[in-house]
């Protein structure tokens, strides 16, 4: 029982990582109803671009504090991801807005494959070590260890969620976003420039992807051209679990997913008397997911998309 707290801490941090990716994911999801398979790859590109910048800075020999180097990496990675998100939306998704929804899904898959292989060519096939730049002093309490970086990640995810909620509920742009996600045609009639709003949403989502990318790479110390695939899937799972298009839902879904995975890995063994073990942690997570959806078919906090009868 004394490891329960540590497992919980592990789960919350892991969940915050998922939430970071899921928040950007669900923004686009809510407004377009599009399963953006390419989001995971944008996260990856954010991490890789930041890595290149950071490697250049470290290699140049200029003595700068770690967090500043990371911030500079983020400063360059963000516009790159934002531009990438904008281009993807304009070129691959906008022409398909009137098309069957699954068509956009296939295009998203195509974009995902394209970005992965592009990254493979540019950054190579090997795993890259992401330098440890951010402070990670450990703190112990009640038998569990947490370090500064982990606390930062949890707070960051919460802050981003709060910021996004404020954006969506307290600003004109946010109102336009909500209107567009409820009914694009009528929103257009009400004077909302639907195309611009959608583009802006994508751009914001991609900026968040860059942040998520750097945090994931910094936390695990590793960046690889294939890292976006699993992250994208987890983000999708978290977003659906919390309710499609629901920002608080994405955060909750992410946290829940992380906690379930951690507790699952920790306790499946003892719970099943050794019959099952940590190799079934993903099964456990999916079973819980399915149970949640059976009882709450629109996700934990309900969805925030257009009602189509």
């Amino acid at each position: 029982m004394d490891i329960f707290l540590q497992q919980l801490v592990n789960g919350i941090v892991l969940g915050s990582i998922y939430a970071l990716v899921a928040l950007g994911y669900t923004m686009v999801y809510g407004i377009l109803g599009l399963i953006n398979f390419a989001h995971g790859e944008v996260v990856m590109i954010g991490a890789m671009v930041a890595l290149t910048v950071i490697q250049l800075l470290i290699g140049s020999g200029i003595a700068l504090p770690g967090p500043l180097i990371a911030a500079l990496g983020l400063l360059i990675a963000m516009p790159v991801c934002m531009a990438l998100g904008y281009v993807i939306e304009r070129v691959a998704y906008r022409p398909l807005r009137a098309a069957p929804r699954l068509a956009a899904l296939i295009t998203a898959i195509g974009v995902s494959i394209l970005l992965q292989n592009l990254a493979m060519i540019v950054w190579g096939r090997q795993y890259h070590a992401f330098p440890a730049l951010l402070p990670a002093a450990p703190h112990t309490f009640a038998g569990a260890t947490v370090d500064d970086l982990q606390i930062f990640i949890v707070l960051l995810a919460a802050a981003i969620m709060a910021g996004l909620l404020a954006l969506v509920h307290r600003t004109r742009l946010g109102r336009a976003m909500r209107a567009t996600s409820q009914n694009p045609a009528v929103a257009g009639l009400m004077g909302v420039n639907v195309n611009t709003v959608i583009s802006i949403t994508f751009v914001i989502g991609s900026a968040l992807a860059a942040v998520a990318g750097i945090m994931v790479a910094a936390y695990y110390g590793i960046a690889h051209y294939f890292m976006g695939f699993t992250l994208g899937l987890k983000a999708f799972t978290a977003a659906v679990l919390g309710g499609i298009g629901n920002l608080a839902g994405a955060m909750l879904g992410g946290l829940l997913l992380g906690v379930i995975e951690s507790l699952g890995a920790g306790y499946i063994g003892p719970l099943t008397g050794g019959f099952l073990g940590s190799h079934y942690q993903d099964v456990f997570a999916f079973v819980v997911l399915i149970l949640v959806l059976v009882f709450r078919p629109s996700g934990l906090l309900g969805e925030r998309v257009a009602e189509r009868s």
Partner: protein
């Protein structure tokens, strides 16, 4: 807008055929005889770094052989590497295998994963083409009764046994935790390690699992920590072992980390950072810089292709062994040089290469290394050295 789907379909198929026709050219007629050697590994996908590494290793061997100039059967021979991507997918592996058979390769280096090597081996066997895998460790590969299936990498049974005994006897571990990554390699190695460690008198206090795509191991490490083992054994690759060791440090898991050849790489040290110190890992064969030509290999490879990932030296040796057999038989025809290959004795850069009757590498030496000051230091070499051969 293309309105006639049937027309579109026919055009697409015709285009595919034309493209296919491109590849089926006859070998260049010239003064030298061209001998094609196939190489198959995943060149795209999550294991592409290992696949490309194999490809580079084989390529280096081919280039060196061509530069040196090899004569077989009285004619000067030019070797050509036919490299294909199997995406670590068994279906694609069989298609690629058939492709190589169609291209009439004289031998195949591949595949990388056991899951692709095994189904492909049937195709090579049916065509009579010898196959040497530089990295497939599933024992079943050589237990199918195919005369032409070989591997130049010690299989899990040998390595796991050495590691298990070393852990208990030399590292003094009494309580051992084991993690594996649920791949054919990781699970196989971990199971053999467990058997050997138990037989030598240690207690296995925890058995946890992860995958070969995971990056977060904190939950299973927390479980392991609670059992307070002296040693943690990991069956899996460097891309997971690196972060795992780093996370062990932050969670203050005070156990020695022991792993197999999948972890014994420079990449591991990079990924683990400061936490790498003290990690012990094994690798089949003798240290590269102790082998004649080993250091030279490292220098030449690094100059051309950058850092060695893991299996490049084995791929290199596989090509050299194949060609060596051809030279002994004085023929590049599979039927003629296969008997020579079966009884070959060749000093590769990874160690002495000789095959047993199943095609496995004869119990070769296995070397243990430890990370000291950010580099791999040799601890000791266990098992049959060159003198013990034959």
């Amino acid at each position: 807008m293309i309105r006639k789907p049937l027309v579109l379909a026919s055009c697409a198929l015709a285009a595919a055929f034309m493209l296919a026709g491109c590849g089926k050219g006859a070998p260049q007629a010239g003064a030298a005889v061209v001998v094609r050697i196939g190489q198959v590994s995943p060149l795209t996908g999550p294991q592409a770094h290992l696949g490309k590494d194999n490809d580079n290793g084989a390529r280096l061997a081919i280039e060196e052989l061509n530069a040196k100039g090899v004569t077989i059967g009285g004619a000067k021979v030019k070797f050509e590497l036919v490299s294909e991507d199997d995406q670590a997918d068994p279906k694609t592996g069989t298609i690629v295998a058939q492709k190589l058979v169609d291209a009439r390769v004289a031998g195949v280096i591949g595949h990388l994963n056991s899951g692709t090597t095994i189904p492909a081996s049937r195709i090579y066997h049916d065509a009579g083409i010898p196959q040497i895998s530089p990295s497939a460790t599933n024992p079943k590969y050589t237990h199918q009764g195919y005369q032409g299936a070989f591997r130049v990498m010690a299989n899990d049974v040998q390595q796991g046994k050495v590691l298990g005994e070393y852990a208990v006897a030399k590292l003094g571990a009494k309580k051992i935790a084991i993690i594996d990554d649920r791949t054919a390699y990781g699970q196989g190695l971990a199971d053999e390690f467990e058997k050997a460690a138990k037989a030598t008198g240690a207690a296995i206090v925890a058995r946890e699992y992860t995958t070969d795509r995971a990056t977060d191991f904190r939950s299973i490490l927390t479980n392991v920590k609670a059992k307070q083992p002296d040693l943690l054994f990991y069956g899996g690759m460097d891309a997971q072992a690196g972060p795992m060791v780093a996370q062990m440090k932050t969670l203050a898991v005070k156990a020695r980390f022991l792993a197999g050849d999948g972890t014994q790489s420079l990449e591991f040290i990079k990924l683990a950072g400061a936490a790498a110190d003290g990690v012990v890992a094994s690798s089949p064969g003798v240290p590269l810089d102790k082998m004649p030509g080993g250091r030279g290999f490292t220098e030449r490879f690094t100059a051309k292709y950058g850092q060695i990932q893991i299996y490049a030296p084995y791929a290199y040796d596989a090509v050299m062994t194949l060609v060596n057999a051809m030279q002994k038989a004085n023929s590049a025809q599979p039927a003629k040089y296969l008997p020579e290959l079966a009884k070959i004795s060749y000093q590769g850069v990874t160690g002495p290469i000789a095959f047993d009757e199943k095609g496995d590498l004869r119990s070769g030496p296995i070397t243990l290394y430890v990370v000291k000051g950010g580099k791999w230091d040799t601890l000791e070499t266990v098992g049959g050295g060159a003198a013990a051969q034959k």
